[in-house]
């Protein structure tokens, strides 16, 4: 027998089960999750316009649904996902242009994306409910 049966003490490539994801990786998968979720948000927007096209009664029914606790929950998710996808999407466009790819710049952009999402979501809800 040669020594090949012995477990090799070699470095292992990082994979999802052993690798603690950096923040940028969490933001990346969040971009994809919010993207899928926003399609649901588009369904809500389409329902709004379709309800108006069918007349005042269906528009009132849709408005009542959106004004319900479930409606507010959906709007909260829609707005947060929209601002996150907008902010992180702009970052992705910078990456596609070959910019902001250094680790220091990526870490700074992480914070800009998170702060931008929180600020824009809070601002629009403040303006909407004021």
């Amino acid at each position: 027998m040669t020594q090949t049966a012995k477990p090799a003490d070699r470095p292992l490539s990082p994979h999802l089960q052993v690798y603690r994801l950096p923040l940028a990786a969490w933001l990346s998968i969040t971009h994809r999750i919010t993207g899928v979720g926003l399609t649901g948000g588009m369904l809500l927007l389409t329902s709004w316009i379709v309800s108006a096209a069918y007349g005042g009664e269906s528009y009132a029914a849709f408005s009542a649904f959106v004004g319900s606790p479930l409606g507010y929950l959906l709007l909260a998710g829609f707005s947060t996902a929209l601002f996150y996808h907008l902010c992180n999407g702009i970052r992705h466009l910078f990456w596609d242009a070959g910019l902001n790819l250094e680790i220091v710049e990526t870490r700074r952009a992480n914070m800009v994306v998170i702060a931008g999402t929180v600020a824009l979501t809070a601002l629009s809800w403040l303006l909407a409910l004021a």
Partner: protein, 130 residues
Amino acid sequence: MFASHNFRSPLGRAQGLGTAKEGLHHWWAQRLTALALIPLTVWFVAAVVGLVGSGFEEFVAWLSAPCNATAMILFLGVSFHHAQLGLQVVVEDYVGHHGWRIGTIIVVKFMCYGLAALGIVSSLIVSFGV
């Protein structure tokens, strides 16, 4: 297996084994729709914030304005196009079985463009008078 191919020239064997040359168009369309959605999303959020609490008549009057109708139709069309392109990538990444993958992508395409058409037609109905 290889014996039956031995009569083909090296060039003949290599031809047709490259990319289908369609990936670039998908990539570019996803970026271009993303770019267009930056101003459209800012407009959309501002519009929704301004429309909070408005009744049916106010909404109809708002969507009857040519600029609002145009922006809404663009937002619907570009958003659903962007959603279709993004969902396609998600399906391609996570659905392993070839038949299911193709089938899911077709369903996603039909639903996205169907909903886009529904939203746009409804916008026009509201704009031209319910």
